[in-house]
């Protein structure tokens, strides 16, 4: 049973081009030029109920536009969209009760109760979704404990830090226990510890509630944290859709070699990146033995590890390929590297 079905989705915006140079502003005042920005181009995919999917891409890739179309906020220029069996732009009440849209940049509580404590906002949410009193208390307790915000919900929102505000906003976003959770850069501006806690929470929520989660981020390390499946967007096109393990298959056959020395690495090491007492290099599998034989002659080595290349490098390669030849990359194929 599909939770989301998207077919050949397209969306464009018209943007003004400001004048350049000293008198650009004056020229711009009298004559306007516009250009078309293709936010989404022929995007197609399906997501089943209960899946947790990451959507990554650089800024301007179309991630937020996609989420806003799925939530019914924006109208697509062409293509079809079905979410939980509804057409989002009709914004039927039952559809709205089944979804939530959360952005790390701004929350519903910030708009409505900035000077009041979050509990006042939760009361409003309760009535918006028609949650019975006893059920509301149970859910609030569940979410507040999971996110550890008991001490914060009675403090005026404006007095909370960004991380604290994000958490109390998340409680507001999930109080109605939606079937579909759309998270737009949920960890933006948060420290590493808060981010990790948030990912743990999302995993738990997905497991316990069997809700479908879509998460956008331009931090590739977020996708390493959760979601087996990844969609990669670049300049409005879907470059990759599949298991994130499949991403690595299509890459050059490389391993990352890390060598730790007793003191600093010898200057004779060429082509290695030096970080303190560690030297790093990405080496083709076919050349691994040769490379290891060369460095093993040095008796100041205390440790050698061989790992898969970092996920960020994998994604960067995908983005770069997208710029060069604009192809959709299918993670099931293995590519040869010459």
């Amino acid at each position: 049973m599909y939770s989301i079905k998207v077919k050949k989705l397209c969306k464009s915006y018209r943007k003004e081009e400001k004048g350049k140079g000293r008198f650009g502003s004056l020229r711009f005042f009298f004559r306007r030029k516009y250009r078309e920005i293709h936010a989404l181009r022929d995007v197609s995919f399906s997501i089943e109920r209960g899946e947790m999917v990451g959507i990554i891409g650089p800024n301007g890739a179309g991630k937020t536009t996609l989420l806003k179309i799925l939530s019914g906020v924006l109208y697509p220029d062409s293509g079809s969209v079905s979410v939980l069996g509804y057409i989002p732009t009709r914004r039927e009440k039952e559809f709205l009760r089944s979804i939530t849209y959360f952005t790390g940049q701004r929350g519903f509580l910030s708009l409505t109760i900035w000077d009041l404590p979050p509990v006042d906002g939760y009361e409003l949410i309760r009535h918006i979704y028609g949650i019975p009193e006893s059920e509301y208390r149970r859910r609030l307790k569940y979410l507040v404990e999971l996110l550890d915000v008991e001490d914060l919900i009675r403090t005026p929102l404006r007095k909370l830090s960004l991380g604290e505000r994000t958490k109390v906003e998340l409680v507001a976003a999930l109080l109605h226990f939606p079937d579909l959770v759309l998270l737009d850069e949920p960890t933006i501006g948060l420290d590493i510890v808060s981010q990790k806690r948030l990912w743990e929470f999302f995993r738990l929520y997905n497991e316990e509630r069997r809700a479908t989660l879509l998460i956008t981020s331009h931090y590739t390390r977020d996708i390493e944290e959760l979601g087996k499946r990844v969609l990669i967007l670049h300049r409005g096109r879907l470059l990759f859709d599949g298991d994130k393990k499949g991403l690595a298959k299509g890459l050059p056959d490389r391993k990352l070699v890390k060598v730790v020395f007793r003191s600093s690495p010898p200057p004779s090491l060429r082509g290695w990146r030096i970080e303190g007492d560690t030297a790093l290099k990405q080496v083709k599998k076919s050349r691994l033995s040769d490379e290891l034989r060369l460095i093993s002659l040095d008796d100041s080595i205390i440790d050698i590890t061989i790992e898969d290349p970092p996920f960020e490098d994998v994604i960067r390669e995908i983005f770069t390929r997208g710029e060069v030849n604009d192809e959709v990359f299918d993670g099931s194929e293995k590519r040869d590297q010459t």
Partner: protein, 258 residues
């Protein structure tokens, strides 16, 4: 319905959270009123007279007009336009919670507070200057209240129309500024419209301050039904405009942010 009552309740809580601001805003209405009182007193002390107004008539007129000026939701909350422009509207569209009714709720909540506090401030003032005030009879008071209620609704809708221009204009703030001053002049809160000397009968703004103030003064008795019909007609046109701007605006909405 409960959700909108909760929003109104939150707005009342918010206003009482900053009591000093609330009191300061309400007492602020005394200052222009005092200015007009001293000005007209001095002007009339020289023996002159403006139009058909006695000094008491002018005082009574300004009392009502300024009370309405400080109570009617002329701008229907400026952050409405900002929410549309900045993408805050998105957070309403993804919920079964009407953006427009949300603002109706919080404005209603705010109005309840302001009207109460404004009256609490004006009543002692009125007692000090009672000798200048023309007290309305029961009928005039009820008619005035009726026109005030419709005027309130009209002010709300006109404010929505101005704010919904945010869907269509890059920056609606210029409109708001001009509209504000236009409302004050053409609505009659600066000077009674029958002294202005140019015809303003075809505009809806006189139903915001001028007509209700005149109703409280008992000066529209001969034409109540006609004015009532016109008032309701303007409110209906404004309602239609709000509906149209909203429906069309949603399709244009680009949801900035993210």
């Amino acid at each position: 319905m409960t959700k909108y009552l909760t929003a109104a309740k939150n707005e009342i809580k918010l206003n009482f959270r900053y009591r000093f601001n609330l009191l300061a805003f309400s007492t602020g209405l005394l200052f222009p009123l005092l200015g007009y009182v001293f000005l007209w007193k001095t002007a009339y002390s020289g023996g002159g007279r403006v139009g058909e107004y006695s000094l008491n008539g002018l005082f009574t007129y300004y009392f009502w007009a300024l009370f309405l000026d400080y109570t009617l939701p002329v701008f229907a909350y400026g952050d409405m336009a900002w929410n549309i422009k900045s993408g805050g509207l998105t957070l309403f569209l993804v919920r079964p919670f009407s953006f427009l009714f949300y603002y109706v709720s919080i404005i209603a909540g705010g109005t309840l507070v302001w009207a109460t506090v404004n009256l609490a401030v004006l009543v002692p003032f009125g007692m000090v200057f009672a000798r200048y005030f023309i007290f309305p009879g029961l009928t005039d008071f009820l008619v005035g209240f009726l026109f005030t209620a419709i005027g309130y609704f009209l002010a709300l809708l006109l404010g929505f129309v101005i704010n919904l221009l945010a869907f269509y204009l890059g920056d609606p703030s210029g409109f708001r500024g001009l509209y504000g001053w236009g409302m004050m002049l053409l609505g009659g809160s600066i000077i009674p419209l029958d002294l202005l000397g140019f015809p303003l009968d075809r505009l809806p703004f006189r139903f915001l301050y001028f007509i209700p103030a005149k109703a409280f003064m008992g000066e529209i008795r001969g034409d109540i039904l006609g004015l009532l019909f016109e008032d309701v007609l303007w409110a209906s046109i404004s309602l239609f405009l709000v509906f149209l701007l909203w429906k069309r605006g949603l399709r244009k909405y680009e949801a900035y942010g993210g």
